[in-house]
């Protein structure tokens, strides 16, 4: 029996080339393993290009990310890169923030022009975060050419640092090697949750820089912890989408996740070989490329002036 090259996806209502889907999963899983981002920003548009409806693409992608982030978290856990304590606190914040965010969207939608605000915020945010990370890591790479590791860069005692230390309930985060109040990850998790809900993205892109710059965690632990969190977020999204909107195509997700779980394992190894600053600068480049693409889409006249409701 020869392996069929195409499979019909009953929920997506189209057939796909198995090899194409497998490869797509592998590529996105690789990025996810290296950088600790979910990869929805890449996967969803590519799936739409392959003829999958936008809603099904986004929901099935969440299902796939569950596999990739399980695999990635496991790989990073073995490398000692997952800070569970921090991860859980951020997660609690994220769930709270997500709930608030959904309410904010309702208000924005009622006021009209919400989509406009969201797109602009997203582009600005990506531009700012990507630009900052890029410059910062470039600088520190130049400064510490001899230094092998991203050994703690002692920063000036800013107002932020003083507040950091003044908050109550200080506790040690051993994996990350930082000491801070539990309020910090809770509050920042909430903030990211709100933003992620408003923008309709997983939040990896925002969470990673927040952990690096605001929680001052080492880059490798950031990647592992971020994957751990994405795992929970995407489990939630998969179950919600499947039960409420029936948009999860499991066959599609399964093909993707075989590819992406393998990709995530390889990615985690590649990431381990890179230094913190190199990782940061690569991620920054990726963020800037995504921003460039979004900006282009906003400025260039689209081919077709109609879009289905329900995509990203």
């Amino acid at each position: 029996m020869t392996l069929p090259l195409h499979l019909y996806l009953p929920i997506a209502g189209n057939s796909v080339n198995i090899a194409a889907i497998f490869g797509l999963g592998g590529g996105v899983g690789l990025l996810s393993g290296i950088f600790g981002v979910g990869g929805g920003f890449l996967m969803t548009p590519l799936l739409i290009m392959l003829g999958i409806p936008a809603t099904v693409a986004a929901a099935s992608d969440s299902n796939q990310i569950v596999g990739a982030s399980t695999s990635g978290t496991l790989a990073h856990f073995r490398l000692g890169n997952v800070d569970f304590k921090m991860g859980f606190l951020l997660l609690i914040g994220g769930v709270l923030g997500g709930t608030v965010g959904v309410q904010i969207i309702k208000v924005l939608r009622a006021m009209g022009n919400a989509d406009f605000l969201i797109s602009i915020t997203y582009v600005l945010m990506l531009g700012f975060v990507g630009g900052y990370m890029f410059l910062e890591s470039l600088q520190s790479m130049r400064k510490s050419k001899t230094a092998e590791k991203e050994a703690a860069k002692p920063k000036k005692e800013s107002k932020y640092a003083r507040m950091f230390q003044a908050l109550p309930w200080q506790t040690d985060f051993k994996r990350s090697g930082v000491r801070m109040s539990v309020i910090m990850p809770l509050a920042l998790g909430t903030l990211v949750g709100i933003l992620a809900a408003i923008m309709g993205v997983g939040g990896g892109f925002i969470m990673v820089p927040v952990m690096v710059y605001l929680l001052r965690m080492p880059m490798h632990v950031v990647v592992g912890t971020s994957l751990f969190q994405i795992l929970f977020t995407c489990i939630n999204v998969t179950i919600m989408q499947a039960s409420q909107n029936h948009t999860v195509d499991f066959v599609l997700a399964f093909l993707l996740l075989i590819g992406s779980s393998i990709g995530a394992q390889v990615g985690a190894r590649i990431g381990r070989k890179l230094q913190g600053d190199q990782l940061k600068i690569l991620l920054a480049t990726l963020v800037l490329v995504v921003m460039g693409k979004m900006l282009y889409e906003l400025i260039a006249r689209p081919d077709i002036l109609l879009a289905y409701v329900g995509g990203h």
Binding site: L7, L9, S15, S71, H246, F250, S261, A264
Partner: protein
């Protein structure tokens, strides 16, 4: 009688739900009459053979069920950025529209024009109603054409031999891989001097079988269970692949 016939024909085409008439003038066989979508389905073809009045041109048309579409219209915000702006609902949009003919529709006069996607979509309703309607319909056709769900000139109808005032025809129509189960209608229309002279229609069923049917039943009938299963399988797959990689690592 002839005039009444003609008026009726025009009205019926305009209404786009033409029941078979003048059956005696035309006949057709369709293979297969039911398209079964199994796991390896990747588009297919439908073979049509029939008899039509001598000297006429043949147009074959497959139309899917009419449904509702929720869309956003892209427009410039602040005169600079292309954004999804107004929400629109299109009522009565067929999921599939495939036309094949023995001559391009543009060369078939008024009847040919009536069979183009633009004419068919004239009957749809757009909510809220807008002055930009013709432009929107045009964009909708573009979108559906890009998805390969609307195809004009999809296949050529070959004309065969003439016998007793009837001419045989034969065609193979493409069915796209993006196909939803449901009831479709296949019509064959004979056109002479820009007028429709005969038509006949058959049902074309599209149904899911085997694995796709099972998956669809589970996903739409037991959404929550399906979601949980999908999650568990994803988790287990991730773990298993993680373990395989670990054992490889230890071997070194």
């Amino acid at each position: 009688m002839k005039l009444r016939h003609l008026i009726l024909t025009t009205m019926l085409i305009a209404a786009l739900c033409v029941p078979a008439f003048a059956q005696g003038d035309m006949s057709m066989q369709v293979t297969p009459e039911t398209i079964k979508i199994d796991t390896t389905y990747n588009g297919t073809t439908v073979k049509v053979e029939g008899q039509a009045p001598e000297g006429s041109q043949i147009v074959l048309r497959i139309v899917g069920e009419a449904g509702e579409l929720h869309m956003k219209r892209k427009d410039k915000a602040l005169g600079l950025l292309w954004m999804n702006m107004d929400s629109l609902t299109f009522h009565g949009v067929p999921v599939l529209y495939i036309v094949g003919s023995s001559k391009p529709l543009d060369e078939l006069g008024a009847a040919g024009k009536e069979l183009k996607a633009e004419s068919m979509l004239n009957t749809i309703e757009i909510e809220p109603d807008t002055a930009a309607r013709p432009e929107l319909i045009d964009q909708l056709i573009k979108l559906k054409t890009k998805e390969r769900l609307y195809q004009e000139e999809a296949g050529e109808v070959a004309m065969g031999e003439v016998k007793d005032g009837m001419q045989s025809f034969m065609a193979t129509l493409p069915i796209p891989s993006r196909l939803a189960p449901g009831d479709y209608k296949l019509a064959s229309i004979a056109v002479k001097d820009g007028q429709e002279v005969a038509m006949t229609e058959k049902d074309l069923k599209v149904e899911l079988v085997s694995t796709p049917l099972f998956m669809a039943k589970l996903a739409f009938g037991h959404g929550a269970l399906y979601g949980i299963l999908a999650t568990i399988i994803a988790l287990v797959s991730g773990l298993v692949i993680g373990l395989i990689f670990q054992s490889k690592g230890e071997a070194h």
